[in-house]
Amino acid sequence: MPRVNPIDTEYFKDERKAGDFTVIGTTVQRSDALGHVTGRTEFFEDRTFPDLAHVKIHRSAHHHARIDSVDCSEALKVPGVLRVITHRDVPSNWYVVLRLIGIEPNDEPVLAEDRVLYKGEPIVAVVADSEAAAIEGAARVRVGYTELPAVFDVEEALAPDAPVIKQAGTNYFVYEGHHARRLRFGDVERGFAQSDRIFEWRYSSAPIEHAPTETTGCIVVPQSSGRLLIHSNTQAAFFTLDNTALILDRPFTDLQVKGGTVGGGFGGKVDVMVEPLACIAATLTNRPVKFVYTREEEMQVSSPRAAERIYIKDGVTNDGRILARKVMLYVDAGAYSRHSPYGTTKACAHLPGPYTIPNVYADCHCVYTNRTPSSAMRGFGVTIADFALESQMDRIARALDLDPLQFRLRNAYRDGDLKAHRKVAEGTALIEVIQRAAALVGHELPDEYLALTSTTPRGEKA
């Protein structure tokens, strides 16, 4: 039996207009399930090609270092090794995946040039007849380094005396001249002055791995037309195609991406990490080439969910109305931008959470450190912020001796409220999910709270 959550049709009855549909709103079998249970679903790696060559990477041994020398001579002596690829073989080595939506600068090399900014950064790609030969070849590359001071803490990275690790000159992404994505709504200091109580706490998280059961990878097959066919488990076929073509400095029409069936993504397969090098390897060897992350690479070298540090300061009245919220948020982007400048803006857009607060102030920083670059992951910008915001709500409710759900209902946003980013709220339903969850666990709410609805305008000046 499929596990189906009951739909409570008592809520938003007028808007639902149920029963008009034939297949919408009904449980139909997944079209892919038969393939899954019979093993016939075809993932990218389930294709075999004669003459398939393999790519493995020699990676940085240091968190931050100048590269003094790269010696590939021993790698080339390994039987089965076909080519080594360095940054000189990458036509347009510097990129940022979000350049497709106008984010700059290009801050990351496909392969490191004169320095490395994180342990595990790719320096040399080795192409070989077999996976084993590629691994052996990559291990025999010799790189000479001069270690440089590394930065690991987001706030230390922003200190005036911190070593600047980025070529752009700042350890933070610059948002149109600002050191952070800003949110300014009302007058937060006046709000604090009007409040009975001030609560200020700090929250933080460590990086998290997507851990898809299928690791990131692709197989690139040279075509008789001269084009390259990329079998990929990317989450975004054209995003990968466009970025790869820019790195290869080839016409976009030279590439074809096939995919669409992916063994879990969770945001981990939108970084365009394997396709450019596999394409270069396929072009140089004129053979089909596979580049797939090992589990260890997936765990430690592929982008994690960013660690965040969040300070929240709230001004609240004794009866539980939040009058002001100030947030200092730091996203640890690691060494390179990838999707983090966008994720930090997404975090800013999410503040101050699903509550109507008349005075809001936030600085959301996208900070660079000498660790594996973070990037997109399921709910990035929001997941860790929600941990902080909802912990804060719980602590304030306890401090004021208020029921935690009543405190949330008191401040919940409703239709017509102006959000801190100045969009008028519509289609809201926070009040209703709180009421329904309370009913689910037998948490009693007073009638005045049960009577609240998201569609009833707030009876106060926001």
């Binding site: 959550n5 009951p6 739909i7 049709t9 808007e15 639902r16 549909f21 297949v23 919408i24 892919d32 690991f152 149109e176 994505r181 800003r182 709504f185 706490w201 998280s205 460590a206 791995e209 989450q235 975004a236 076929a237 995003f239 590439l255 096939k258 669409g260 069936t261 992916v262 993504g265 969770f266 397969k269 589990r295 260890e296 765990m299 430690q300 966008y342 997404k346 857009a349 999410h350 959470g353 699903p354 450190t369 709910g379 929600d386 909802e390 912990s391 719980d394 602590r395 935690p404 980013h421 100045r422 969009k423 519509e426 289609g427 339903a429 999910v433 329904r436 969850a437 689910l440 666990v441």
Partner: protein, 334 residues
């Protein structure tokens, strides 16, 4: 040793779509000679069920059975552009694009049928089983296979449609953060119940009770899959996961395999009970909002709050390891 129980709450909302970059997806649809409808996309199914749900959107719009709908994805040579599968955008964007394409194809299908039935296209309807029929006169009908055969071999028309959904790019105002960051918002409230062992510091998540507002559950079993699987990931994030166990002080000791990178196994999962509410989004496909990502979010603070409720330790750093709970208990006893 004492097992301490606690309950915690969290309520959240979550935006649908990557609205700050300009966020389009396209769909093409065409009929085969024998009554099939092929939807051509370049969109990616990560396992959330996109291929199924867009087929439902097409079948509903065309008025045809699911069996007549074929989804062809993802090939950048044959499928039109899609931004990608992320930002809880797939169902919303691609669903909308497919509906638009299917409407255009449906109009042609009805025009072809009208000519065959010698009726006015406006007087025709579909019955959901494969027939186009005259409203009020259901015996005057034609099977889709005959419609498409007539289109191809008699009338010389292609039954096809083009669809796109575009959320136009929005530029935040740098000084104030004024912006339009979402197409709609889904909502959730989670109640977590935990048990904390005051000797080992282990927090066990006993249950998650969730209320979700999703706009429209297009396929209720697949919506349930997201809620349940995302809830599990939230538990996993909360009490287990990190690639850097000593973040930020040390980059060492990062896990490299599934033996070192901990996640709850089948014996460590909480009981989950959930209820879905539907407040259809004005811009969603049949009102649907995106819930793929948000389902991991509410459990994490709900668990943190439940741990405090159980043992008085306020955890402000994820994940909530036994060590951090024991240190908190020690501090309380000091």
């Amino acid at each position: 040793m004492t097992l301490l129980r606690g309950r915690g709450y969290a309520s959240v909302n979550y935006p649908t779509g990557m609205n700050l970059g300009g966020d389009p997806s396209q769909a093409l649809i065409h009929a085969t000679t024998m009554g099939g409808f092929v939807i051509s996309l370049s969109s990616v199914d990560l396992g959330q069920g996109l291929k199924t749900v867009v087929a439902q959107c097409a079948a509903e719009t065309l008025g045809m059975p699911m069996a007549n709908v074929i989804v062809d994805t993802a090939d950048t040579d044959t499928g039109p552009h899609c931004m990608g599968t992320f930002a809880s955008r797939g169902t919303h964007r691609i669903g909308n694009a497919v509906i638009m394409a299917a409407r255009e194809a449906r109009d042609v299908m009805l025009a072809v049928a009208a000519e065959e039935l010698e009726a006015d296209a406006d007087d025709l309807e579909t019955d959901g089983t494969g027939f186009v029929r005259l409203k009020g006169s259901p015996e005057t009908k034609i099977h889709i296979q005959d419609v498409t055969l007539a289109a191809h071999f008699k009338q010389g028309r292609t039954i096809s449609g083009r669809g796109i959904y575009l959320k136009e790019r929005n530029y935040p105002v740098p000084e104030t953060g004024e912006m339009d960051p979402d197409s709609c918002q889904a909502h959730a409230c989670t109640v977590a119940e935990v048990e904390v062992d005051d000797e080992t510091g282990v927090a066990t998540v006993l249950s998650l009770h969730n209320a979700y507002e999703v706009g429209r559950a297009l396929n209720p079993a697949m919506a349930a899959q997201q809620v349940e699987g995302g809830g599990w990931m939230g538990v996993s994030h909360a009490v287990f996961e990190s690639t850097e166990p000593y973040y930020p002080a040390s980059r060492d000791h990062g896990p490299v395999d599934f033996c070192e990178y901990l996640m709850p196994g089948p014996a460590e999962i909480p009981v989950q009970s959930s209820v879905i509410l539907e407040r259809p989004a004005s811009n969603g496909p049949f009102g649907a909002k995106g819930i793929g990502e948000m389902t991991a979010n509410a459990p994490i603070p709900a668990i943190a709050n439940a741990i405090f409720d159980a043992c008085g330790v306020r955890l402000t750093t994820m994940p909530f390891t036994p060590e951090s709970i024991l240190r908190g208990l020690d501090a309380l006893r000091a």
